[in-house]
């Protein structure tokens, strides 16, 4: 699944495959990341996203395929020579060096002049808001601050490609939101081609220019967040990104016919989809409770803050609906259900 | 490709070199145990025989020293365990003032050369009437095991995760039961390493035993000193093989734990 543009993409993977311990972890992977773009590799554990990232960084050599950075084949190049810089999941800061020394290390290795090192490091720490910790040891600063040091250390090397391995997984929920915005803002300001690995779809949806959803060693879809959410290419993508109510059944332009025969009216016309292996998908926010539609009983109502999750029994199946939090129905009530919008996957692929 | 070959070759050379350095002397000595005689500069003995083994096995004195060494070693580890393991538990689990200093103090006493120490110790023993007694020798042996029996089990006890013990309390077990079912089993590898290091330390102990024990108690190492001087080399070789057997057997038993880091962990003060 490629979307290519121009001769020198920031990063290009072609036909990349890797086997580890006798098992195929990544198979025939194609991905193009434009210069300055932020792409998220999103997927469950074991899908191969971290393996792919490590192949981009050079810690693993692909069995098949090519890795190109700015048009240059770097497949056989060792990590210390690649123009990539990685922010490791647990930050990997050197405990015996100060924050300044941690960030300066890559420059020292390259024998950059002392004055220039000081200037660049200070500039970078200023960028991530850590100037006040310039002489501190990693052991004495907080997790969020450590992560920023790791980011500064990667950025100061002026890499062609920036790689982040689950950057937010060790931070608490509130901090996560702030940090992902910071990362995004810095990335856009500096215009660095970036690949982020994550298993958190919220993270991916909010940070990425495009998301590559991976499953079992393959990319199932690469699209912008909205595109991904509205038009998931496969069943897997549909249920991995966001919540999706699914049934086997058929779609007619105005009606969704569920497996047990229940007919639910559709607000937005859909492409017809019929066939033995057709699956209908409806997002919870597209399940509308109103005055007309198919009959359903309210089983449970779960308050979720500004909205409420209503679990309904529709025919023989269970449906989740998100309704505004102000006046949700009560359990046991009988309501009428319509679908604002439905999609269908036939033989696993999206019907458009 | 070429780099790979060079690497493999270097690796093989390194292994050969170290093997010769480490194993060479042992194999050379072992070969003597089966040699009729060995003329220089032959690479192999003149002939092979088991005659020397018969000689050693027939010599009652040699054997009594081995028996005595074993007796002392076993007594030593029992006494040392009883004395030191509770202390090891305290050092590992409680944080009292001076804890580190005391631990280091125990170690520091080992730094005084044994010869010098034993001279004064002899004087003390005369005063307490412990010279040429079994107890006296045991005391000398136990002294050599104190560091092993406190440091290593202390680290092992400290390494048992509190949450596992709390889970046992939560499931209804009292403190004694928790110790028996959770703490002790988990600390056991470290304790085992300590016990075996102590056994071997006692087995190896020569100077102090000679000073205190002679002429009543002759252990294996003291016997070895005279053996080397008074008997043919082949007899010494046979004896050496015999005496290495307990060491090798015991250490093979705990090899996994030693390589797994119990020894290394034990000697870092936390």
């Amino acid at each position: 699944m490629t979307s290519d543009s121009g001769d020198h993409a920031g990063l290009r993977l072609r036909g990349v495959g890797k086997e580890l311990g006798g098992r195929s972890i990544v198979a025939d992977l194609d991905l193009t990341v434009a210069r300055g773009e932020l792409v998220c590799l999103l997927g469950p554990s074991g899908c191969g996203k971290t393996t792919t990232l490590r192949m981009i960084a050079g810690f693993l050599v692909p069995d098949t395929g090519v890795v190109e950075i700015d048009g240059v084949d770097v497949t056989g190049v060792r990590p210390e020579r690649r123009p990539t810089a990685m922010v490791f999941q647990n930050y990997a800061l050197w405990p015996h060096m100060s924050v300044f020394d941690n960030v300066a290390f890559g420059l020292k290795v390259r024998k950059v002049a002392k004055a220039e090192i000081a200037e660049r490091v200070e500039e970078m720490l200023e960028l991530v808001n850590l100037s006040h910790h310039i002489r501190s040891r990693p052991g004495r600063i907080s997790g969020g601050e450590q992560q920023r040091v790791a980011l500064a250390r990667a950025l100061v090397q002026r890499p062609a490609v920036l790689l982040l391995d689950e950057p937010l997984s060790n931070l608490d929920a509130k901090l996560r939101v702030r940090v992902r915005e910071d990362i995004r803002e810095i990335q856009q300001r500096l215009g660095i081609t970036t690949v982020v690995v994550t298993h958190d779809q919220d993270e991916a949806l909010s940070m990425a220019d495009r998301i590559a959803v991976m499953n079992d060693g393959r990319i199932e879809q690469v699209s912008s967040p909205t595109e991904l959410y509205r038009w998931p290419a496969t069943r897997f993508v549909g249920s991995f990104v966001g919540v999706l109510n699914t049934w086997s059944g058929t779609l007619e332009p105005d009606v969704a016919v569920l497996g047990d025969g229940t007919r639910v009216p559709l607000d937005t016309p859909a492409a017809s989809a019929a066939g033995s292996d057709t699956e209908i998908g409806v997002r919870p926010e597209d399940v509308v409770l109103g005055r007309n539609g198919a009959a359903a009983d309210v089983a449970r109502v779960v308050p979720r803050g500004h909205f409420a999750e209503v679990v309904l029994t529709l025919g023989e199946s269970t449906v989740r609906a998100y309704v505004s939090g102000e006046a949700p129905p009560a359990p046991g009530e009988r309501v009428c259900v319509r679908f604002r919008r439905a999609i269908a996957h036939a033989d696993g692929r999206l019907v458009r | 490709m070429a780099v790979r070959w060079v690497r493999s070759a270097l690796g093989a050379v390194a292994v050969l070199a170290l093997a010769t350095f480490v194993l060479g002397p042992l194999l050379w000595l072992a070969a003597h145990a089966f040699a009729t005689s060995w003329t220089f500069p032959n690479l192999l003995p003149d002939g092979w025989t088991l005659h020397w083994w018969e000689e050693v096995f027939a010599d009652a004195q040699l054997f009594s020293s081995v028996r005595l060494s074993l007796a002392f070693a076993l007594t030593t580890i029992v006494v040392s365990s009883v004395l030191c393991l509770p202390a090891a538990y305290a050092f590992g689990r409680f944080d009292f003032p001076g804890r580190r200093t005391l631990l280091i103090g125990l170690f520091a006493t080992n730094a005084f050369p044994k010869t010098g120490l034993f001279v004064s110790l002899a004087a003390l023993f005369y005063a307490f009437d412990l010279m040429t007694t079994f107890t006296g020798v045991v005391i000398v042996h136990v002294l050599g095991t104190v560091v092993f029996m406190t440091w290593i089990p202390a680290a092992a006890f400290a390494a048992v995760p509190r949450s596992l013990e709390e889970a046992a309390r939560d499931a209804g077990a009292g403190p004694a039961r928790v110790f028996r079912s959770v703490t002790l089993p988990m600390a056991l590898p470290g304790i085992l390493v300590a016990v075996i290091m102590s056994f071997l330390a006692s087995f190896d102990e020569a100077q102090g035993t000679y000073l205190v024990g002679a002429p009543v108690f002759y252990t294996m190492p003291t016997e070895m000193y005279s053996l080397v001087l008074n008997y043919p080399r082949q007899v010494a070789a046979v004896f050496s093989i015999l005496l290495s057997i307990p060491s090798v057997a015991l250490l093979l038993l705990v090899r996994r734990h030693i390589m797994g880091g119990q020894l290394a962990e034990g000697f870092q003060i936390r």
Binding site: R78, P79, E80, G106 | L117, S120, D204, S244
Partner: protein, 287 residues
């Protein structure tokens, strides 16, 4: 709970050490009476608050002692450096490649621990003796190797042999303890293997290295069995010399002086060990 071993050590080690030091300073009463009665060339004081350094004077003026002191310190330094270097090579090899040769090397390095010191010394002597393996092999190739048996070189070889296991275990443990991401992060930042060892692995494995070095040094300083079996009559190490002074020459006071000298040097190394542990605790935020 912690009392029994402390009590044991205090009574049977610390106290005798104090008594011994007192003896070296001239106090011949009480527990020192027995040895004092057979000693020659003793220096005594009458009152308990007095001391004499005459015995120290004797010893330090003695050519024999000075030569042995030099030998002891030399052997200790050479052994410590050799052992630590060897252990580091094995540790790095094991860390970087985890191949069979690496594992075999680390297993070999631990083998000496299995062998009683008495036997090891004897085996090493025979190996390097006039009719030993080394000379035999070289002879087979038409050369003539020197006899290393009963030399200071042989003592050093013996000490390296016996001290290798503990140092290897400590240092391998230290090097293995460096988290892999820290090494990868350094490679990612452009560092070569040598640079990674210098800037990341070595500093992080410093404490185990210091521990290994101090244990080796202290163990070598006071060694008796290895130099006794493998070394020459003179020069030899202080451990052997002081035993001789006591048993053969009937100069126990001088023997104790030597013991004190060795102890002071050992204490110096021990101080390093304490510092290393203190730094480790500090870095980990425990202090």
């Amino acid at each position: 709970m912690a009392a029994p071993p402390l009590l044991l050590v205090t009574v049977f080690v610390a106290f005798p050490i104090v008594v011994a030091v007192a003896y070296s300073l001239g106090h011949v009463g009480g527990l020192n009476a027995t040895i004092a009665s057979i000693a020659r060339e003793q220096h005594t004081v009458d009152a308990w608050w007095q001391q004499t350094f005459a015995a120290y004077g004797d010893v330090f003026a003695d050519e024999r002692f000075l030569r042995d002191l030099g030998t002891t310190v030399l052997v200790t330094l050479v052994t410590t450096v050799a052992v630590v270097l060897l252990a580091w090579v094995i540790a790095l090899y094991l860390r970087m490649s985890d191949s069979i040769p690496a594992k075999v090397l680390s297993a070999l390095a631990v083998v000496p621990m299995f062998i009683p010191v008495v036997i090891a010394s004897w085996a090493i002597l025979t190996f390097y003796a006039g009719d030993g393996f080394v000379r035999t092999i070289v002879q087979a190739f038409g050369g003539d190797a020197p006899t290393l048996g009963y030399t200071v070189v042989c003592i050093t070889i013996g000490m390296v042999w016996t001290q290798l296991p503990f140092a290897t275990l400590m240092i391998v443990s230290g090097v293995q303890g460096v988290p892999q991401p820290l090494i990868e992060a350094a490679a990612d930042a452009g560092a070569s293997f040598g640079r990674i060892v210098r800037s990341v692995i070595a500093p992080m494995a410093l404490v185990p290295t210091v521990i290994a070095a101090t244990f080796t040094a202290i163990g070598t300083l006071g060694a008796f069995t290895v130099p006794y079996f493998t070394g020459p009559n003179a020069p030899t190490m202080l451990g052997v010399e002081m035993a001789g002074y006591f048993t053969s020459f009937n100069l126990p006071q001088q023997a104790i002086v030597m013991a004190v000298v060795v102890f002071v040097i050992a204490a110096g190394f021990g101080a390093l060990y304490v510092w290393a542990n203190f730094r480790q605790a500090q870095d980990a935020g425990r202090v």
